[in-house]
Symmetry: C2
Subunit: 248 residues, 2 copies
DNA sequence: ATTGACCATGACGTAACGTAATAGTTTAGA
DNA sequence: TCTAAACTATTACGTTACGTCATGGTCAAT
């Protein structure tokens, strides 16, 4: 299939296809003779995924990461998109209600509070982005998740206890300087612990990445900070310093 | 209400409010002492309209024109938005269907054609933009519409016949050069006809604008071309030339 | 009196394309 | 067979609707 046919079929523009090609999102094979784009069946399936995610409000950069994730799974993707669409459907129904009531309020039949007048507009906090990140967002988390799901209950329990222990311990030194000897020794221990308990060898990069996540992902921040306020912040810094020091 | 409260209430950002202020879309009063923005109840109603139209996919520039249109009518606006939302709801339902079927097709339970796989994505041609333009889009059309709706059936009928006659006549010369004497004489007649039959004095600008519309608005193009293929194109050119020649 | 949360106005950045310019290719009709 | 219309490609600049600083004034509470 050439670009124009694809455009016609899907309702997107040829320029959009060019764009997706340019940003490495969807790169069809080229005709050897003239360099024209040729879209295969697989390309079309990928494009469908892209458009679904786009419909769900994901930025293209994020879509790219998702689709490239090693643990990406079409079935889960469909489920997620379905959830989003159902959510969106509800939002629209809310807006329709707001609309109908606004008409009545205009005619003086009823009165509406300001809060009511803006019901349904808030589409900023898309909870499904977070779910997507959970599913395929971070390669490191991915792999450990995959590993975790392969464990028995007892194994899981044991690991959970080990982590709990580790964090409780770490919480006691959370007010130290993250670069201090005490802190860095703890980081070494932590790094070893991670490598022992998760299914693969953590790179130092990934280790630092997890630390980053503790402060960028609220879900993690809250979780970690339950062991002591400020722990996530401390860990993020200390883990990064450790990773950097070991890399040189 | 200050900007932050509005933001919290509606779910949009303060920056967005600043932006709407900057482009003259929504300009709240300012506190005389410190220049802070202060949003009144009216501002909030207008904002609601803006957000509804935005939700319907209208660009801000268009929203501005709509709201400033002399014939703008909140009730009609609500109705239009309602139509759009119902349309959107259906589209989402279509996509949900596509999604469910795609999952089955992935599992090999059913097969899907490519066309089916992309059902629901086409949201480009929003039919409601055209309806909006019809309602409030063109000031000139507005006014004549307003006038028309104030007429009796017989008067309407008589005018319709007059227009029919005029267009039939114009169709006979549609292959002339639009700048020719014949064409320009016909334009003069047409201009007088417009001024006689519609409720107010057409400016030459508005006259040329109507000509423009004959070729930019498909609805009109098709209508006009029923009198003869290419008539709309001819009229658009001839009317512009006439208007220009009279303006100097 | 100071601090921290709020407001204002620039100015620049960005995402996801649209649009136009230029040039090579393919295809349908004279 | 030749030519014009209709595609294709790349490059490049434009656009919309804001986000994100940077800088500086304002207000409310300690």
């Amino acid at each position: 299939m050439n670009a124009k046919e694809v455009a016609k079929l899907t309702g997107i523009s040829v320029r959009t296809l060019h764009h997706y090609d340019a940003i490495n999102l969807l790169r069809p094979n080229r005709n050897k003779e003239n360099g024209y784009r040729e879209y295969s069946e697989e390309d079309m399936d990928k494009l469908q995924q892209i458009l679904f995610f786009r419909e769900c409000g994901f930025p293209l950069a994020k879509i790219q990461k998702l689709l490239n994730s090693s643990s990406f799974n079409r079935e889960e993707a469909f489920q997620l998109q379905k959830k989003y669409l159902l959510h969106e459907k509800k939002r629209i129904e809310t807006m329709l209600d707001t609309l109908n009531r606004s008409m009545k309020s205009m005619k003086g039949e009823i009165t509406m509070s300001l809060t009511e007048k803006f019901g349904g507009f808030d589409m900023n906090n898309n909870p499904y982005e977070e779910e997507a990140r959970r599913l395929w967002g971070d390669e490191a988390v991915d792999k450990s998740n995959a590993h975790i799901s392969s464990l028995t209950m007892e194994e899981k329990d044991s690991i959970a206890k080990g982590m709990d222990h580790l964090f409780t311990e770490l919480a006691t030194i959370r007010n130290e300087n993250p670069a201090s000897d005490t802190a860095q020794k703890a980081m070494e221990k932590m790094y070893r612990h991670f490598n022992k308990n998760f299914g693969y060898q953590y790179t130092l990069e990934a280790f630092a990445g997890v630390g980053q996540m503790y402060i960028t992902d609220i879900r993690f921040t809250e979780n970690v900070d339950q062991y002591g306020k400020g722990l996530s912040q401390f860990l993020a810094e200390a883990m990064k310093i450790y990773a950097d020091s070991q890399t040189e």
